[in-house]
């Protein structure tokens, strides 16, 4: 199980930037499809918010993957004390 945790850590590290790239491509495509001014403004605003929100989360997923790869989750603490 620990080997799987470490291997999947690599997957999470790759998944973070992949997800952001996918969202960015989607945003460019959808904004390009809109025609009128107000519709275009709305679409840019909506996708801008989505990218802004998910960027730090994808960064968090990469850090999570890094910790998993380094074996930080091989044994979880027995209690909540630091």
């Amino acid at each position: 199980m620990n080997a799987l945790k470490k291997f999947l850590g690599l997957v999470w590290m790759v998944l973070g930037p992949l997800a952001m790239t996918f969202l960015f491509i989607q945003a460019v495509e959808k904004v390009g499809l809109t025609h009128t001014d107000i519709e275009r403004t709305n679409t840019i605003l909506q996708w801008g918010i989505i990218l802004f929100i998910f960027l730090p989360i994808s960064l968090g997923l990469m850090i999570f993957g890094f910790y998993a790869w380094k074996g930080e989750y091989e044994k979880l603490p027995d209690n909540s004390a630091l």
Partner: protein, 507 residues
């Protein structure tokens, strides 16, 4: 300390905490339940579908800022205490909800209307970001160690009961005033009513005492000097924050908001169900399913939190598409045979000029009642062109009222989805509380909870509606978002989470 608290005292603690949290959820959800009507009030009349998407975006903005509220108020809660912090969030939430009820419409003040509502919605989101973590922590720190799942599950019922209350107040207000008056000004009443509920809750909360664990920590001079730094700059704690987010709250959030919010939006906007019918279905589903929050919370004290939560995610991944396909199939009245029709009543046709052209739009509305008790309105909007004559448009069937057996089938399908919500949500407060130490618990548990619920969950209606509006998409395409997120969380939770419960959180 918490182990010696008398049973009637713990129920007082739960009652006082839950009432305030329930009211905050009520305040937060009336906006979503009235999105269509508010969209008409805040944006130009010709905005069409973009008014709904923009209103859902304002609704979503409240969710997006929840993690920031978690940081601001979580820090405050770990510095000055749980009691005063969630008293403050209650005042902010109640005040902003009341003010939303007073905002003039787009017709009166133009784009200032949506901007003001957006600002108030952001304050609502910040307040909620601080409320939940405080209430869950407060109850958990009073609860006996072997029954933490059971006692915190009462706090977990408040989000769903807040939604129930908001739907109930909306349906009752609309039935008393009638649809026209409600759409015109009556929608403001549920917002204004909030101030009464908040005053009652503030009075009750003022009488509460500080959490015993926090008081002990304070008396010993051991409270955190910088909760944000200790929570997120300490690898041992930060890795647990990330694990809680990706392995639990992210999946829990999308299951919650698909079962209770996207379902309602789908029934109303995609299936074109009658306003009251869609809300009655949800109300019944919630009423039947709510006790299961406590059942799963209590069960998690015996078998652990992990597998109950992850089972809820797995069932959602498997059953969402079949359930929503049934919603579509059973509300497809387009293939009705003439001998199924009991009566038809044609309404007077209306016509409006198309701006800057000599042409006009003619709307013909027909009320159709079927022999099985179902009914709907058939709307046809034709273009009357000066040069080309009448250009007929496709008929739209809306305001559908279901026959009784299908109505109860839908209640069952909603009940099942909320049952999944109770599985993922019932044990999660105890799960989060047990991951983090007392001195930074408020901050540490609030952030993953509100990113999972506020961002991943709260964006379900918005992102799913956006995906469903793409060219080539089907009405079920929007479901790929919650299914994908729940699947990712299920994999991470299965592999990385421990099912072991922390017996002592007094550290």
């Amino acid at each position: 300390m918490s182990e010696t608290l008398p049973k009637n005292n713990i129920f007082k603690v739960i009652g006082a905490s839950s009432l305030g949290t329930l009211i905050e959820w009520y305040d937060f959800y009336i906006f979503g339940s009235l999105a269509v009507i508010i969209g008409h009030q805040l944006f130009p009349e010709d905005a069409g579908a973009s008014a709904l998407i923009n209103t859902l975006a304002i609704f979503a903005a409240g969710f997006i800022v929840r993690p920031f509220g978690a940081l601001v108020f979580g820090r405050l809660g770990d510095l000055i205490g749980r009691k005063y912090t969630f008293l403050l969030t209650l005042v902010l939430m109640g005040g902003s909800t009341f003010l939303i009820g007073l905002i003039p419409s787009y017709k009166s003040i133009g784009y200032a209307a949506p901007i003001l509502v957006l600002i108030l919605r952001l304050i609502q989101g910040l307040a909620l970001g601080g409320e939940y973590g405080g209430a869950a922590t407060y109850v958990a720190e009073h609860a006996p160690k072997n029954r933490r799942g059971f006692f915190t599950s009462w706090i977990q019922t408040t989000a769903t009961l807040g939604l129930f209350l908001s739907l109930g107040v909306i349906v009752i207000t609309k039935n008393i005033l009638g649809a026209d008056a409600f759409g015109d000004w009556g929608w403001r009443i549920p917002f204004l009513l909030s101030i009464v509920l908040v005053v009652v809750s503030i009075y009750i909360r003022m009488k509460m005492h500080e959490s015993p664990m926090f008081s002990k920590l304070k008396a010993e001079g051991n409270i955190s000097k910088n909760p944000l730094k200790e929570s997120f700059n300490n690898k041992a704690n930060f890795k647990m924050v990330l694990l809680a987010l990706f392995g639990a709250t992210m999946g829990q959030g999308v299951i919650w908001y698909t079962g209770q919010f996207y379902a309602q939006s789908f029934l109303e906007n995609t299936c074109k169900l009658d306003f009251n019918d869609s809300r009655y279905i949800l109300l019944w589903g919630i009423a039947f399913a709510t006790p299961f929050f406590v059942i799963f919370g209590a069960w998690s004290d015996k078998v652990g939190r992990k597998w109950i939560m992850l089972s809820g995610m797995l069932l959602g991944i498997i059953f969402y598409r079949p359930i929503y396909q049934m919603f579509l199939d059973d509300t497809d009245f387009s293939k009705i045979e003439q001998n199924d029709v009991s009566s038809t009543t044609a309404m007077p046709a209306t016509a409006v000029l198309i701006p800057n052209t000599p042409d006009s739009l003619r709307t013909i509305s027909t009320k159709v009642i079927l022999k099985n008790g179902a009914s709907f309105n058939k709307i046809q909007t034709d273009t009357i062109s000066v040069s080309k004559g009448v250009l007929p448009a496709k008929e739209i069937l809306k305001d559908k009222v279901l026959p009784t057996p299908i109505f109860w089938k839908f209640v069952g399908l909603i009940f099942f989805q909320i049952l999944l919500v109770t599985m993922v949500y019932g044990p999660i407060a105890a799960f989060l509380v047990e991951l983090f130490p007392t001195k930074i618990r408020y901050t540490s548990m609030s952030l993953p909870y509100h990113i999972g619920n506020g961002v991943f969950g709260g964006l379900v209606p918005f992102i799913a509606t956006l995906i469903a509006s793409f060219a080539g998409s089907t009405p079920l395409s929007g479901l790929w978002y919650p299914i994908g997120i729940a699947a990712l969380s299920l994999i991470i939770g299965t592999i990385y989470l421990s099912n072991k419960r922390d017996e002592s959180i007094n550290d």
